[in-house]
Each structure stands twice: as C-alpha cells, then as structure tokens.
C-alpha cells in the first residue's frame, strides 16, 4: 500500500513533470489562459497517459526492444485520436479553443518519457497508478496557472466574476508573456514546496 502511495504522490511535487522535469511544457503555457481550458487539457492528457501506460505495460514482454519507440508512438497516437474525436463531438467549443494542442498530446514528452522509463518495465497496476499521479501533477499545475491568469487577466474564475466590477483587468496575464511569467513563478513556488516536503520527510524519518 505504502509503495503504491509513493508511486502516486511522486508525480505531484517531487517529480512533477512540468515544474521539476521540465517536460511537456508547450501545452502548459498555451492552454492556460482560462481555467476551463486548463481542466480540459489536464483531463485529456491524463486519459491518454493512463491508457497508454496500461496498454504498454500489459504488452511489455511482447514488444521487441528495437522497435519500441514506433510502437509507443502508435499506441499514444491511437488514444490521442480517440480523445481528439470525442472532444470534437461532445465539447466542440472547448475543442475549438484548444485547437492544435489536443492532437499535439501525441508528442507530449511526459507520456513518452513515462512510457519509456516506467510502463515498459513495471506491472500494469503500478503503471496505471504512476500515470494517474503524473496526470494529476500535470492537471494541478495547469489549473493553478490558469486560475492565476484568468483571475488577474479577466477578473473571473471558470467564467464566474471574482474581482469587483470596478476591477480593471490586467491584459498582460492573458497574453503570451503573462503565461511565461506566471509559469516562472510556479516553478519557483514548487522548488520551495519541494524543499519543505523533503524537510518534513527527513524529520519524520529521524523520529
């Protein structure tokens, strides 16, 4: 049980794919101008990574080592196509506002990285837990960045007005430069968080 918990939680802060490993960055800045986009992208990505890790972990003994990269890509592309088509059918507005970034989940290095480093070696259950942890770690960062940008850039969160009517939106946050700046602050915040978490766990181990 404890092992499963460790696998799950490492994706959240200590090995957070976006803020610590610095992979899969593109979508994190691009789709976070509103919270609903952030959630949509986070869930789409979590879906793809979970099923890709599950399938590859199930077949890990059958996949020849030399041909593994193309096989991984085909599996990931198949699930991405499913997400892309379902989103176009059921959430046309969301799918339109995210545009090319849904198909680009295929080349999201987080998925490729986890499949290569984890799913191709571990048991299916562990792989799914790892995928959920990574997906959640990705989603919380996306939602966090999107919340800051939407709040200051538009005065709303999820379309609901939070700031008073007289609040003058700071356009900077919605525009591309604001995305980079908020992302920089999130990395800085996560470094601090990681230090705290590690300090707490060393104290616990000592006790």
């Amino acid at each position: 049980m404890k092992r499963i918990l460790t696998i799950f939680t490492k994706g959240l802060i200590i090995e957070n794919p976006l803020l610590m490993l610095m992979i899969g960055l593109c979508s994190s800045v691009a789709v976070t101008s509103s919270v609903s986009n952030g959630i949509g992208m986070g869930l789409a990505m979590t879906f793809v990574i979970t099923f890709a890790e599950l399938v590859i972990s199930l077949f890990r003994k059958l996949i020849p080592n030399d041909a593994r990269i193309p096989i991984f890509i085909i599996v990931i592309a198949a699930f991405t196509t499913m997400v892309d088509l379902s989103m176009q059918a059921y959430f046309p507005a969301l799918s339109k506002s995210m545009g090319v970034f849904i198909p680009l989940i295929v080349v999201n290095c987080i998925i490729m990285g986890r499949v290569e480093a984890f799913a191709s070696k571990e048991k299916p259950l562990d792989a799914v837990i790892d995928a959920l942890g990574m997906g959640l770690g990705y989603t919380w960062v996306l939602m966090g960045i999107a919340a800051v940008r939407e709040l200051f850039g538009n005065g709303t969160i999820l379309g609901l007005r939070i700031m008073p009517e007289t609040y003058q939106p700071i356009l900077f946050f919605i525009l591309p430069p604001g995305g980079f700046m908020v992302f920089a602050l999130f990395i800085s915040f996560n470094l601090w968080l990681k230090k705290r978490v590690e300090a707490v766990s060393t104290v616990r181990e000592a006790a």
Partner: protein
C-alpha cells in the same frame, strides 16, 4: 505578396515559440550557447520543410480520397519519425561531417511539437503546397531566431545578479516572457 505575408507572419507575428508556445522543450534545453542553437535551428528547418513536402500531398491525395482524414495524427507522426530516421541514415553515410555536428539534434526532432503543428496548420489553414512550404520555412526560422535570442540572453545571465527566488530555470521563463513582450510589438506589422 501573399507568400511574403505568410512568411513574415509565421516568422515574427505568430512566432512559434514566443507567441504560440510550441517547441518549448528544445527552446529551453538547447539554447545554452549560440552554435548549438544554430545547429538545432537548421536541423529543425530541414525536417519541417521536408515533412511539409511529404505530408501535404499525402493528406490531399491519399487520405481525403480514401476518407481516412481521422487518421491524420497517426499518419503524420509516423511520417515525421520515418523522415528523421531517413535523414539520419543519409547523413551518416554521405555527409559524416554534417552528421557529427547535427546528429544529436536529429534524434530529438521527432518529439519537437512545432513540426507536427506545422503539418496540421497547413491543413487547417487551407494552404496550397507552395504556401505550405513557405509557411514551414517561416515557422522554422522563427524557432531558430528565438533560440538564438535566448542563448544570447543566457550568456548575459551568467554574470547578472538574479533575485534568489528566480535563480535557475525560473529566470529563463521570466526572460522569455520579456522577449515575448518585445515580439508582441510586431503584431501591427501586417493588416
């Protein structure tokens, strides 16, 4: 005239890195010095143009008549991966010097999202083949331009007094943010 418009807008106004946030991983990872940025930029330009030349006819003359357009993600990524492999083999055999200087970047290009994005853009914007190639050139050179700019900034950052909470990666994104502000100035260039 129209072609010039497409080129300038892909190069500066909709700069792939600074305005559309694509290809951020190589942008951060490969911008440590200027020669490296130029090498990466050239390799990306080459593969982007080549994959445009292959995917555009493939989509219009194979996938559309067969009603298989929903497979485009799968097909395009495989084309790009295969092309990168072919280019790698070809260079290794016929131009070992060039391969030595470009080799390591080539392998990384398959997962460069800018290339896949360009091939999708060509379809969704309804470009013809020549427009697509010009667009691909513009995007790829825009990538190279931003890479060179950031590597220049990184040189200066080595000796600059950086606030403690921004040290390391955060300052790179903060600088990128300022670069993006500068690039927003181009937005009025084409009406």
């Amino acid at each position: 005239m129209n072609l010039a418009k497409i080129f300038i807008s892909a190069l500066l106004i909709d700069n792939i890195v600074l305005m559309r946030f694509l290809a951020l991983c190589p942008f951060i990872g490969m911008s440590t010095d200027v020669p490296k940025s130029v090498g990466m930029g050239l390799a990306v330009t080459f593969v982007t143009v080549l994959s445009t030349i292959v995917t555009w006819p493939l989509y219009h003359f194979v996938l559309i008549p067969l009603n298989l357009t929903f497979l485009k993600i799968l097909v395009f990524i495989l084309v790009i991966a295969a092309l990168v492999q072919l280019v790698e083999f070809y260079l290794k055999k016929n131009a070992p010097g060039l391969y030595g200087s470009m080799g390591i970047y080539l392998a990384l290009i398959t997962t460069n999202c800018a290339i896949l994005a360009v091939t999708f853009d060509n379809i969704s914007k309804g470009f013809n083949l020549i427009e697509s190639v010009v667009y691909a050139m513009g995007v790829a050179l825009g990538f190279m331009l931003s890479l060179i700019l950031l590597s220049g900034i990184r040189d200066r950052l080595k000796t600059a007094p950086i606030p403690k909470f921004l040290q390391g990666t955060p300052i790179l994104f903060a600088s990128t943010s300022l670069l993006a502000v500068a690039f927003m100035g181009f937005s009025g260039l084409i009406k």
